[in-house]
Symmetry: C2
Subunit: 294 residues, 2 copies
Amino acid sequence: MLIRSLEMFTAVVETGSFSAAAERLHTVQSNVTAHIKKLEAELEVSLLSRRTPVAPTPAGHQLLDYARRIGALHAQARACFRADGEPAGELRLGSMETTAAVHLPRLLTTFARRWPSIAVHLRTGTSAELIEALRAGQLDAAFLAVEGEEGDDLLMKPVFEERLVLVSGRPLQGGLPDRQTLSRTPFLAFRQGCGYRQTVEMLLAGQRAPAPRIHEFGSLDAIVGCVAAGMGVAVLPESAVGQYRQRFQLHIAELPDDLARVTTVIASTPKGTWSRALAVFMEGEWMPEARSVA
Amino acid sequence: MLIRSLEMFTAVVETGSFSAAAERLHTVQSNVTAHIKKLEAELEVSLLSRRTPVAPTPAGHQLLDYARRIGALHAQARACFRADGEPAGELRLGSMETTAAVHLPRLLTTFARRWPSIAVHLRTGTSAELIEALRAGQLDAAFLAVEGEEGDDLLMKPVFEERLVLVSGRPLQGGLPDRQTLSRTPFLAFRQGCGYRQTVEMLLAGQRAPAPRIHEFGSLDAIVGCVAAGMGVAVLPESAVGQYRQRFQLHIAELPDDLARVTTVIASTPKGTWSRALAVFMEGEWMPEARSVA
DNA sequence: GTGCTTTTATCACTGGAAATGATTTTTTAA
DNA sequence: TTAAAAAATCATTTCCAGTGATAAAAGCAC
């Protein structure tokens, strides 16, 4: 059973004639006859009563229902991939918690308003998890922080320049505490795989002292809340801390420049693999061009 | 875009490998490769990232959705026509008002209980209308009264032997009134095309006197109600009148045998055109075999 | 890295079916 | 009855799905 045969069948019923159907589908009448006969042979039932106009038999009427639904899906599917049609379907995005909290609300609102027939799915996770999901085809694109490991099978485009800071619930006189102090302070961080967590580890690198306890949290709100409560300190993007400073008494210390600067990129599979929905997302004006977030 | 190609695509994603997909679909791996490449060429986008296991690209994920839906419809459609599968879909029945009122409630209840996945549609109309609808492919089968015009393109099977009677709201002394009286009495009947109406006309045939007024009603209830109210007389199947005799004061007169006997048949297109739903309806035990309804 | 295995891509070839155009048969309308 | 229109049939061409063999590429173990 070919889609083409079903198309022909639908056309014959709708035009009421084999010849008219042939013309509509830009083929010849004998070809239409052959396709219908093939369908009838395959299903072992007569589908059309050959009077004028041609009328579907009971079995034909039943097939017509399926033919129309399959035809509609087929047309929709093709339309989804044509460069001119309205992009539709779902766009599966991934993001780090911090980016989701700080940058995505505005960005996605704009996007969803511009393309109402695209359904955005957002999944948060650590950079490592997101990259894996991208590779496994579970995500279309993801916002993540990586050290410029460009050049492999993933396309990465910088979108935000962030500054990491040390956040504490208690006053930090003299800026960043020394390593001795830090190594005795509990850290609050996202679970293994988060890009920022590497910064924590680098901050403490080269020490013989035992690594400080690192509490793992899955949510930005939880981290900030517990830091404010004095549970420990955290390394977070400055922009992510800002919105909490009204609610909590937070103290911030700058990190050395080489550790502080992190780049958030939008990562996706190469251009030739994009769905139309992904293409308009990646190329739209809502996608900032390495905008520095001071 | 062939259904087969979409099937292969789905199989590749689900098995995670071209070779495994080929095996599942009983073909060779090179054939699968060719089909996928053809799809990719047609849609001008890469659909699968060739790692191990094979993963769909964003575009591939979008196509997968359509491929699965089209595949499911295709399987359903084929199942609908296989002689062993559960018949499904809609069964479009037609019936005269009287048959619908008297015989169908029990018959259709039994049928619907036996075949829960068949949706019955019932349309009432005159015998002439039903035959036309049958020929136009708008109905699968219809209960109607005709004078044995078998042998053409419609299959007819007698199912009920009815007795027509004259019904009046006033006492009918001496049975059937004479023609003189009848020609002065208003008749209530279904609109043109009803088989019973021919009986009325035959009853009055051969008269020079002007034909009596014939009021046309679309509903059995309306006819009986108005007859009881004394508006006129009607010719109806005895079985159809029975259920009203508790509610109304009705008087009945026998008609001459040649006029009284009518046969209700089930009509449909020939066997080779039946849907599975129609087949089980026509061949089931609920279909009475010319049962006489005294 | 080197070899070994698994998987995919490429290629030439074959069979069969889709498409075509001409013609016949059937149906419909005049 | 005839003329016109539509569907079926048929011979022919074209194209493509499917095959098997082989090459290339990707994993995987060591």
